[in-house]
Symmetry: C2
Subunit: 142 residues, 2 copies
Amino acid sequence: MSATNTAVSPPVATPIPEGPCGDDDCGIRDVLDRIGDKWTVLVVVELAKGVRRFRELERAIPGISQRMLTVTTKRLWRDGLVERTVHPTIPPQVEYRLTATGRSLAGVVEGLADWSREHKDAIATARAHWDAEQESASPTGT
Amino acid sequence: MSATNTAVSPPVATPIPEGPCGDDDCGIRDVLDRIGDKWTVLVVVELAKGVRRFRELERAIPGISQRMLTVTTKRLWRDGLVERTVHPTIPPQVEYRLTATGRSLAGVVEGLADWSREHKDAIATARAHWDAEQESASPTGT
DNA sequence: CGGGATCCCAAAGGATACTG
DNA sequence: CAGTATCCTTTGGGATCCCG
């Protein structure tokens, strides 16, 4: 099958680059490649609250498409950050829960959220200020 | 070794205010929109080491294009995370340095890097396991 | 040196339809 | 319910040229 595009099936080729620390990278790229996408951390945060089924996650994370939820959970599962329990009932029931590694990630992500809450006002202010300056510096005409 | 949580040491006690964090987002999206791109944190980490000129940053961060460095630094500047000092000499000289907010972000990012270093092996292993299982579960051709 | 402006491509992600 | 397969739009970001 010639997959023209990135579908849901192949998360197969995602290299884990080497992170030489002490000089530049530190392996930060590695983390960001893992959690820097649009939904991963939200799923992790939600799962940090307890076991969730697919639908529950979908409802708990407003705006996520079911495709992205599938992709994201699969990726987390693959990386050993979540466990996936399938109950072969009808209708099917699948439970997701964080592994120990996943929980540690949730802890770190807390630090991010914390930082965000602390500084988001300052950032918004700085941004507004900057925008004002730029506008007065380069008036667009009319 | 591990900065499991709040790694930034806020000047005033921030005991996780109110509870938007008990329902969904937490404001994590906000952080990720800011640092989730390809270069921002690398620039922040580099600037955490001291004042840098444009060229110095470019050389310190292998792979970055000068356009992305411009975009990234400007974004950080706009958000009040870096200061930008222009020396109107010939040739021009522009210095970048982290603001207090920027430094606090660098601290948080340290937590991420920390987590990455701790768990990257486990993740790589889990991933290899997963891939093996999936391959044996859906043989592509043989 | 330190950018700004443009072009262009690749990847991420949203919408929808189908299945067990 | 819990996915999978496709299609299509949006965005990120690399390459290149030009300018003060």
